[in-house]
């Protein structure tokens, strides 16, 4: 098996798999426990709009996708703040708006751009050394923030009202979780694609949630599943010439079914 990593692109792909698998599955714990799947999907679509704009303007698509992810999070936060509007329709509105922008930008590009498809469906073997560096830097920011504010993020995820009542700035931390989710999606979008990135965030944490009622164990099990499936999917896709993103997600879903058999009560 080691011979497949003699190629540079496979070594990059492996590093991307570990990075994306790890970061997605850590943030996934908050997404699963707080019920943020839909906003996650919305942010993924918004980041894709940013990617297309990057290609259109000829700037690094990661920069524009961060921008779009944050605009999406910001719009939803503004419109749902102080109970003005329910979260679900707010996401629905801006989700569609962002996707409309993406389609509009594609229409404005007079030429066909094959690389766009790797952001749509994911192409882990096309991750370059520069991409990896940006991904690593953003990954360190995400995981570092989680480490620094671990207690506060946990309390706000569990019981936001109580956290606020006991002197934690719950609103700030709720926004921080969404911002971290946005960065995570931006890190992952090239490797697994806009359509499948949510799976890499939600499934590992859901598997962990089936097996434990201890939050700390969840933070260990979730990246274990995420990284294992990413590496496994990468290898399988290489040997059998399959799309990598889809292979990773199918392995994850298979793990999910297995963990469901061992589901804990409560």
């Amino acid at each position: 098996m080691s011979e497949i990593f003699q190629y540079d692109f496979m070594r990059h792909a492996l590093m991307a798999a570990v990075l994306v698998g790890g970061v997605c599955s850590i943030i996934g714990v908050y997404v699963v426990l707080k019920g943020l799947s839909f906003i996650g999907d919305g942010v993924a679509h918004a980041s894709f709009g940013g990617v297309v704009l990057g290609f259109l303007l000829g700037i690094n698509p990661l920069i524009t996708s961060v921008l779009f992810a944050f605009i999406m999070v910001g719009l939803v936060s503004i419109f749902t703040g102080k109970g003005k509007m329910k979260t679900d329709p707010a996401i629905g509105v801006f989700f569609s708006f962002m996707m409309a922008l993406a389609i509009l930008f594609i229409g404005l590009m007079r030429s066909y751009n094959a690389e766009l498809y790797s952001y749509l469906f994911g192409s882990i073997i096309s991750v370059t050394a520069t991409d990896l560096l940006i991904m690593l830097a953003l990954g360190i920011i995400v995981l570092g923030t989680v480490a620094v504010f671990f207690k506060e993020l946990l309390y706000v995820t569990f019981d936001p009202e109580m956290a606020l009542a006991s002197g934690i700035r719950a609103g700030h931390f709720n926004f921080l979780i969404l911002a971290l989710l946005g960065l995570t999606i931006v890190i992952s979008i090239k490797s697994v694609g806009m359509i499948l990135v949510l799976a890499l965030i939600v499934i590992p944490a859901s598997c962990a949630h089936q097996l434990t009622r201890n939050i700390k164990t969840m933070f260990i099990l979730s990246p274990l599943f995420g990284i294992t499936a990413s590496i496994g999917g990468l290898c399988l896709s290489y040997y059998f010439d399959l799309p990598s993103g889809a292979t990773i997600v199918i392995i994850l879903t298979f793990i999910f079914f297995l963990t469901a058999l061992k589901r804990v009560k409560g």
Partner: protein, 258 residues
């Protein structure tokens, strides 16, 4: 003496609906205050306003002589209404109670030995130490309430706010929770704000009773406040007050005698 909680002309509204109107109350250190009133009378709103979870439309609340801010909140413990806590959340009793210490720890700090000792003491104090390893989803109603009281106490608060801690519990568990709150109040000299529907089983412990229905109908010592005229106004109906051995007892909605 300056009151620990001072409520001046407090009006709170949700969108255009007024929930509380022109409330004036002063609560002094060490008082055990019962807040009563029918459903939707603004009892929970009052607690939330005191905690700063809801901002007043008019008027002002002062805590410890200062504004309602994060520093003041760290000196208060809160036991929210049943149902506001996600019981499927994967956390064990010990860790859930430890969260009550989080706001007092610095960034990057993880629970220290003294934090752990404190959690142990508090859990033993509410007779829930044996539950420490249980997921919160596996607790009975009475056990869960004791755990949330422990979480509120573990930050060593000066004021304890409880929102209907006995609702939905059987009579035995209700008695245990009330005895526990009474013990905490006596033992620690805490100021306690206690929202409830059931006045008779707690009125012997209360220093003051507040009857709320959007406005404050009556506020004072139970013997002075629990009067049939006041209660008929607040509950708009069938209320009787019977003189018990040492205190008045309230009978609400005695349909057998209508």
């Amino acid at each position: 003496m300056e009151p620990v909680i001072q409520i001046k002309g407090l009006t709170v509204s949700y969108n255009s609906e007024v929930a509380l109107q022109d409330i004036n109350m002063e609560i002094y250190k060490g008082e055990f205050v019962g807040i009563l009133g029918p459903n939707g009378s603004g009892k929970t709103t009052l607690l939330k306003a005191v905690l700063g979870l809801i901002s007043p439309a008019q008027g002002e609340i002062r805590l410890f002589g200062g504004p309602v801010d994060a520093a003041a909140r760290k000196r208060m413990g809160y036991v929210p209404q049943k149902g506001s806590i996600d019981l499927t959340f994967p956390v064990k009793v010990f860790d859930a109670v430890m969260m009550g210490r989080y706001p007092l720890m610095g960034l990057f700090r993880y629970p220290s030995r003294s934090d752990r000792i404190l959690v142990e003491e508090v859990l033993k104090g509410v007779d829930a130490w044996h539950l420490r390893g249980k997921p919160i989803g596996e607790l009975s109603g009475g056990e869960a309430q004791r755990v949330w009281i422990a979480r509120a106490l573990v930050s060593n608060p000066e004021i304890l706010l409880l929102d209907e801690p006995t609702t939905g519990l059987d009579v035995m568990s209700q008695g245990q929770i009330i005895d526990l709150i009474h013990r905490i109040h006596e033992g620690k000299g805490l100021t306690v704000l206690y929202v409830t529907h059931e006045v008779n089983n707690v009125s012997c412990y209360l220093d003051k009773v507040a009857y709320l229905k959007k406005t404050l109908y009556a506020y004072g010592h139970p013997n002075d406040v629990i009067k049939v005229e006041t209660l008929r106004e607040v509950y708009a109906g069938e209320v009787e007050v019977i003189q018990g051995v040492d205190r008045p007892l309230v009978v609400v909605g005695d349909h057998c005698h209508v």
